[in-house]
Symmetry: C2
Subunit: 341 residues, 2 copies
C-alpha cells in the first residue's frame, strides 16, 4: 500500500498512533491533531530552538539506510545541536514531504525510528506536517530544548589558551558510508569486520551526546561548544572563528575510530585527513581552559561515556587554523559544505 | 549567480544579513549562527508550536508566485495556525532545501518576503537550516507563539448550538490560482479585473489573521477555532469532529469573495461549491455560543477588519455534516487532501 493509496488523513492517524506509544512528555498541554501543539515551558529556563533536515539523495540513500535509520537520524541530528548548546531536549515537530509512491510500511518504519530515539531521550513529538512532493523524501525536524540561563554553551565563548576536547571517536561515520558505497561485505565473525560494523553503525544511527552536552552546561565545564556534524576540522574552525581565535589541532592526538583507520589505509587514503574532513560523527567539541581541570574531572566522573580527548588548543586569531602532524605545522583542512563545486 | 556557485557559507551569511534587518524580537538571547537559537519564553505563558511547508509544484508554482510571495506565504501559513490557537507569534525557524541551480537573487527575494511578514508581526526569524536537494524547493517553517494558559483556542471546544463565524471572505485564493492557471489577463483599469486581482492577491499573499486570533483568545470570545486552509467545508468538518458535534452550514450566508463568484460563474462552475472546497484562504472559523453575544460585540469592536459572518451552527454528532442551500439539506463537500486520488 502506498502513501497515495492510503491518503493524508489515514496516514496522519497512523503516524500519530505510532508516536503516541511513547509516554507523553512533561509539560504537554495539546499534542498532535490541532492547528498547533501547546506546551508549558519550565519556569525560568531558556528555550533553545533548532531545525535540521534529512533529504533523500543528500543525507541518506535508501540502499544504505533503513527507513528506521532515517527517522532516528532526523531526530538525532537535532538533539545533537541542542546538546552542543547545553540544552536538554523536550519537544519536537516533524515535517514530512513524501512522494505518493512511497510505501506506508516505510513511513511506519521512519516513524518508529524517530519514536524510538524520542523515547530514549524523553522528547515529545508533539506535532508536525505532512505534504506530498514530486521530489525526494524530506524529513525536517524542529526541536525545542531547555537550559538554565547560565548553562548555555555557545560557539563564541572560547579564548586563546583553552584546550579543545572531542568526545568519543571520529571518522567512523564517513568511513562507514564509504564502506556501504563500496559494498564492503560485513559479517560479525571476524574482528576486522566488527570494527567495520561499528563505522557503519555510526553512520546509520548516530547517538547524539545529550547527556554530555547537558552535563557540561549545568556544570559550566566548558567555555564553548559545537557539534561535529560537518567534520572535526570544520567544527574547530567554526568554534575558533566564533570565539575570535585561531586554532591548533594535534593530528597525532585525534581519537580515530579504529575501523575507519583500517579502512582508509586499505583504500590508500590518509586516515587523519579523512577523519578531519568527514562529517556525520555528531560528537561534541568543547573548549575548556586548563585552569578548569577540577570541573573537567567532575564532568568526566559524571559522564564516563563517551570519553573526552584533548586534541588541540585555541590560539590568537592571527595564528590562523593549523594542523600539527609529527611536529610539522600545516593548514587545517576544510569540512563538508552543501553545493560545494 | 546560482546557489551552488555562491556556496553554503556565503549563502547563509547573505540570508542572515537580510533577516537581521528586521528589528530583533523580544526575548532573543542567541540568534542565527550557533548550533541553535536561544530565547526567553515569557513567564507563565504557554508555548505554541507549529510547522508547515511550502513545496514547489504542490503549494506553489514559479510561474504564478514570485519568490517573495513564496517566502511570505511560508511564514503566513504558520502564523495562521498560531492565530487559530489564539497564540501571538514570537519566533520562527526556516529550513530551506534548495537545488544548486537556483539563483541567489531568488533566494534573496524569498528571504525578503519572509522577513517582510516577520517584521509586520514582530516575529524573530532566529534560526534555520540550509540543505541542497536534487528535487523541488522546500521551504519549511516552524513557528513558536505564546498564549496565556486560559486563552488557548482549540478545535475541540465547540458544543451543539454554537454559531460558526468565518472571518473575511472565502473562495478568493482558489479562484485566484485558477485565474493564473487559465492565464486570465489582469489589468487595473476595469472593475471586473480589480475584483480578479484581489483573488490573485489572496492566493499569492495570504494575510494571516493574527490580530483576530489573539484577540479572540484573550477575550475568550470563542469556544473553538480552526484556520480555513484546506477549504471551509474541511475546516467546519474538522472543528465539528474534534468537538464531537455535527455541523450545518448555510450556503446562502457564505461571504464569497466577489471576484471569485464572478469567475466561477464565467467558467460555468457553482461558486458556492468551489468556495467551500477551495483551499488557501487562511481565514479563521470560530464557534461562539449565542449567549456570548456581549463578548462577540466586544471582539468586533476591537477587530473591525476582517469582519465576522455567521455561516452555520454546530449540531449533535448524529446529525452529520450538512449543507443547507435555499432551504434544501445536502451533504457538506470535502476539502483538499494530499495524495488524493
Amino acid at each position: 500500500v502506498t502513501v497515495s493509496e492510503l491518503g493524508e488523513r489515514r496516514l496522519l492517524a497512523r503516524i500519530r498512533a505510532r508516536l503516541e506509544r511513547v509516554a507523553p512528555p512533561a509539560g504537554l498541554v495539546i499534542g498532535i491533531g490541532d492547528d498547533a501543539a501547546v506546551v508549558t515551558p519550565p519556569r525560568g529556563a531558556r528555550a533553545v530552538l533548532t531545525t535540521d533536515a534529512q533529504v533523500e539523495g543528500v543525507h541518506f540513500d535508501r540502499r544504505f539506510s533503513s527507513w528506521c535509520d532515517v527517522g532516528q537520524r532526523a531526530l538525532a541530528v537535532n538533539l545533537s545541536d541542542l546538546a552542543a548548546m547545553g540544552a536538554a531536549p523536550r519537544w519536537a515537530l516533524v515535517s514530512l514531504a513524501l512522494p505518493g509512491s512511497l510505501g506506508v510500511l516505510d513511513v511506519d518504519e521512519l516513524t518508529d525510528g524517530l519514536a524510538r530515539l524520542a523515547g530514549i531521550h524523553q522528547v515529545g513529538v508533539v506535532g508536525g506536517n505532512l505534504t506530498s512532493t514530486a521530489g525526494p523524501v524530506v524529513v525536517d525536524v524542529m526541536a525545542v530544548g531547555e537550559a538554565g540561563p547560565r548553562d548555555i554553551l555557545t560557539r563564541a565563548g572560547g579564548r586563546p589558551g583553552d584546550t579543545l576536547y572531542v568526545s568519543g571517536a571520529i571518522g567512523g561515520a564517513a568511513a562507514g558510508l564509504e564502506m556501504l558505497k563500496a559494498g564492503r561485505v560485513l559479517s560479525e565473525d571476524d574482528p576486522g569486520t566488527r570494527a567495520a560494523w561499528i563505522c557503519v553503525d555510526r553512520y546509520r544511527r548516530p547517538a547524539p551526546r545529550v547527556r554530555l552536552g547537558v552535563s557540561t552546561g549545568r556544570m559550566r565545564a566548558a567555555r564553548a561548544a559545537i557539534d561535529v556534524s560537518d567534520g572535526l576540522a570544520d567544527a574547530a574552525r567554526q568554534l575558533a572563528e566564533a570565539s575570535g581565535c585561531g586554532v591548533e589541532i594535534d593530528a597525532d592526538a585525534l581519537p580515530l575510530e579504529p575501523g575507519a583507520r583500517a579502512w582508509w589505509r586499505e583504500c590508500g587514503h590518509d586516515p587523519v585527513t579523512a577523519a578531519l574532513a568527514g562529517g556525520d560523527d555528531y560528537e561534541l567539541l568543547l573548549a575548556i581552559p586548563p585552569a578548569w581541570r577540577g570541573r573537567l574531572r567532575h564532568l568526566r566522573s559524571r559522564v564516563a561515556d563517551p570519553p573526552l580527548t584533548a586534541i588541540g588548543t585555541l590560539t590568537k586569531a592571527a595564528a590562523g587554523f593549523v594542523l600539527i602532524r609529527q611536529g610539522r605545522r600545516g593548514p587545517l583542512p576544510e569540512g563538508f559544505v552543501h553545493w560545494a563545486s
